[in-house]
Amino acid sequence: MDKKYAQDYSTAELMVTRAAKEIADGEIVFVGTGLPMIASMLAKYTHAPDSVIVFEAGTVDSALLHLPASVGDSRCVSGASTCRGLFDIFATVLQRGVIDVGFLGGAQVDRYGNLNSTVIGDYHRPDVRLPGSGGAGDIACLSKRTVIIMLHERRRFPEQVDYLTSPGWVDGPGGRERAGLIRGGPVSVITDLGVMQFDEQSREMYLTSSHPGISVEQVLENTGFELDASRATETEPPTVEEIDLVRHTIDPEGLFLRR
């Protein structure tokens, strides 16, 4: 059957539908608050019904009858396989090496996918204090791979992050190994302008696609470091079915996708 693409959708809706494609059926997924919740629920409703959602506050394979507002929400408990706490998830699931893919966000990302969610400015006297690592630093260290979702602005894509909260490829090839990390690393960055991946050799971010209506130049203008765009195509738009699921089944209250 031919795909029926949606004509009317928001950028955030495009981001979650694109992020859902990062999850393969049967995979175990570490999910954080916000757009990753919607993306991982959409994957379960579409191509990955047997993927498993894990939340850091204690639940495994929640049925998610209603969209949680927190990773510790009571809404994560419904239909879960197990419901315990942070130690169970972080130590015996994440550190044990069970998580296939983890989702991350942040206020800044550099070319190697290192993320900052701690401070803007100097750590000791910051211009802006952000919430802190939470589980992000752990997910970045210990998932088999990570996917980054964030807004694309020049100040959010600097040469160097002000504080490295969640390690990506650290300082390039071999960086994770030198830091003592035994697995993982970022594979994709999904923004409101496009999708980036990381070069296998250099571990540097390159542009995979710009979103419909967004030019490659726009992406480059909004990136504070050099970004290879030679491989860029256009992001596949969401389908009518995906948008319908997101709006009417997954986030009907508009918690994270306000319209």
Partner: protein, 322 residues
């Protein structure tokens, strides 16, 4: 601790267990099951210079910071996710330099409590490697030396003596007091938590003394009919306080949902700070004669009925969150 005479009032619990400069930790997670009635009583009694350990606090620690009660936090995150993040009083206090802080990851912060609960001086882990959490310390070495209860170092990196793998060693935390809010506690002190336990089982076991505030106090006979559902043994609990709706405005699984309307009031006041936040404390904390008066001030029986959990879910799907 014996089994008897553990039940005391909120006022007595704060008077007896909380002293200025105490090292303390609380149960719950971001928007869920914080011992909020206890926190408000701490603010009412004007406790100060607190050293707070935690993994993911939210409005609990933010309210104490806004009330000027906090000297230092050692945490991974302070925020209430959808409702207000980062926590505004925390953010302002760090930006103004009026508190000390130390950043760990959520796993790292949890493991420090786990080490404390296991009676170990430290615990190894494979997290925080490659991050600035291991290159930067918010709490200066001279401050650490000045505080005999503080860990002498934030962490130590070492090679595993068996495999050569790089690991981080995290210092244990044994706070003076832990305060947790549970759905049910037996008269003996046995604790039952419904839904996610977060890290409360370790939080309680790490601390030297434990206060449990609870929705319901039941007989020892009743709570021991299903001991497999209990998570903290009676002898680790020093005091029990009966506080229905004691986690409001955070959620308490199986009992009531978080209160988005009150969170909106809190978010506005805490973001504005200054007089606006003092006015919030004046209305909901200092101005309330006790917990029952507080419940009237946030909307009374009508609002509490609106938040009441649907037993089919453990939360209330009808609560309007936007």
């Amino acid at each position: 601790m014996s089994k008897t005479n553990k039940i005391i009032s909120l006022q007595e619990a704060v008077q007896e267990f909380i002293h200025d400069g105490i090292h303390i930790t609380f149960g719950g997670f971001t928007m869920q099951r914080h011992p909020m009635a206890f926190i408000r009583e701490m603010v009412r009694q004007e406790k100060c210079k607190l050293i707070i350990y935690g993994h993911s606090p939210g409005i609990d620690v933010d309210m104490l910071i806004g009330a000027g009660a906090v000297k230092r936090v050692e945490v991974a995150y302070i925020g209430d996710e959808l409702f207000v993040s980062p926590s505004p009083n925390f953010r302002r206090a760090v930006e103004e330099g009026s508190i000390q802080w130390e950043d760990y990851s959520n796993f790292g912060a949890t493991l420090r409590l786990v080490a404390g609960a296991l009676g170990l001086p430290f615990i190894p882990a494979r997290t925080m490697l490659g991050s600035d959490m291991i290159t930067q310390s918010g709490f200066e070495p001279e401050d650490r030396r000045a505080d005999p209860k503080a860990a002498p170092q934030k962490h130590v990196l070492m090679e595993c003596p068996f495999t050569g793998d790089k690991v981080i060693l995290l210092p244990a935390v044994n706070p003076d007091v832990a305060v947790i809010h549970a759905q049910m506690v037996g008269r003996d002190g046995t604790v039952r938590i419904l839904g996610q336990s977060y890290a409360d089982d370790f939080v309680a076991r790490a601390a030297r003394r434990v206060v449990v505030t609870a929705e319901e106090i039941v007989s020892e006979e009743f709570i021991r009919q299903c001991p497999e559902q209990n998570c903290i043994p009676f002898f680790r609990v020093d005091a029990i306080v009966h506080v229905p709706y004691g986690a409001h405005p955070t959620a308490c699984h199986g009992c009531y949902d978080y209160d988005p309307q009150h969170y909106a009031v809190y978010a506005e006041a805490s973001r504005a700070g200054g007089d606006a936040f003092r006015e919030y404390l004046g209305t909901y904390v200092h101005g309330a004669s006790d917990h029952w008066d507080y419940l009237d001030r946030i909307g009374g029986t009508k609002q509490l009925s609106y938040l009441k959990a649907d037993p089919a879910f453990g939360y209330n799907p009808g609560v309007r969150r936007r």
